[in-house]
């Protein structure tokens, strides 16, 4: 699911307010709202508490990195070229952190998928065949 970037406005302090002797904290500034971590999808029987915790942490890293990427990209558009280049470098670093989080999640998912497939194969497929490895077959026969 594509991440939604939310930009909101809030009253904030500005150095010129004090200089002009006007009410402080009244300048309306636009800022990137930190995204709420998306709900972690868990698969019963495959995910335990630790898995969920890891999944949540990776999701949080991804959200924070993407938010900071947006902030840095916004700064790039407002500063002189020589500073924008450095800000762009920082933005790329945040993007890399987000990508690493997604990659890790993807690896975890691939490993979990293998377990899920293994669990599913114990049930008859569409053709009515049961695909099992030797150990599972032995266990089934034992239980009978």
């Amino acid at each position: 699911m594509a991440r939604q970037i939310k930009k909101t406005e809030k009253a904030a302090e500005h150095p010129l307010e004090e200089l002009l002797d006007i009410e402080e904290g009244t300048t309306i500034m636009e800022y990137v709202e930190p995204a709420m971590p998306a709900e972690v999808v868990t698969v019963d029987g495959v995910y335990d508490e630790k898995d969920t915790e890891i999944e949540e942490q990776l999701q949080e890293i991804y959200e924070v990195a993407m938010t900071q990427f947006e902030v840095q990209s916004g700064v790039c558009e407002e500063v002189e070229g020589k500073y924008a280049a450095r800000n762009a470098e920082v933005a790329v670093q945040f993007l890399t952190a987000a990508l690493n989080a997604v990659q890790t999640k993807s690896t975890v998912k691939a490993n979990k998928d293998k377990l899920v497939v293994k669990a599913i194969t114990s049930e008859p497929n569409a053709k009515g065949n049961i695909v099992l490895d030797r150990n599972e077959l032995m266990k089934m026969l034992e239980s009978k």
Binding site: H14, L16, L20, D21, T26, E78, E80, G81, A84
Partner: protein, 144 residues
């Protein structure tokens, strides 16, 4: 690529701007920051950018030129008084006597300084005449 961040500014509150809305430009990131402050602070009642012209005698050629100060601002202070000011945004280094040791640079900086002083003197006289305040904003005022 331009050395400084430049572009056209589209105000969020066009009703506050006095002048041609399609001709609001910024010549540096400092000016962009100031534009945003003036546009987004509710205590700034009216503002304009490079709309006022003040005649001044340029010392380098001894002829009358026009000086366009960066801003004219009408704002309400904490006491509820309405104040009018004229602002010029300049690097702090350009508000002090040049200290460069290189002859060529020094000559250029000296000329620039003398011209700036003539402009600001004319602006001060203009402000005295119309009961305004003249202020030079530097990076020390904009970034605290």
């Amino acid at each position: 690529m331009a050395r400084f961040k430049q572009g056209w500014y589209v105000p969020k509150h066009p009703e506050k701007y006095v002048g041609k809305l399609d001709k609001i430009r910024y010549m540096s990131s400092w000016e962009l920051k100031t534009h945003k402050f003036l546009d987004n602070n509710p205590n700034i009642l009216k503002w304009s950018s490079e709309e006022i012209q003040i005649p001044y005698l340029k010392p380098t050629d001894n002829r009358v030129h026009r000086y366009f100060p960066d801003y004219w601002v009408l704002f309400r202070n904490k006491q509820g008084q309405q104040m009018q000011e004229i602002w010029e945004v300049k690097p702090f280094s350009q508000t002090r006597k040049p200290r460069s040791r290189k002859t060529k640079t020094r000559l250029y900086e000296d000329a620039q300084y003398i011209v700036n002083m003539a402009k600001w003197q004319a602006a001060q006289q203009f402000c005295n005449k119309y009961n305004l305040k003249f202020r030079i904003l530097t990076e020390k005022d904009l970034y605290r």
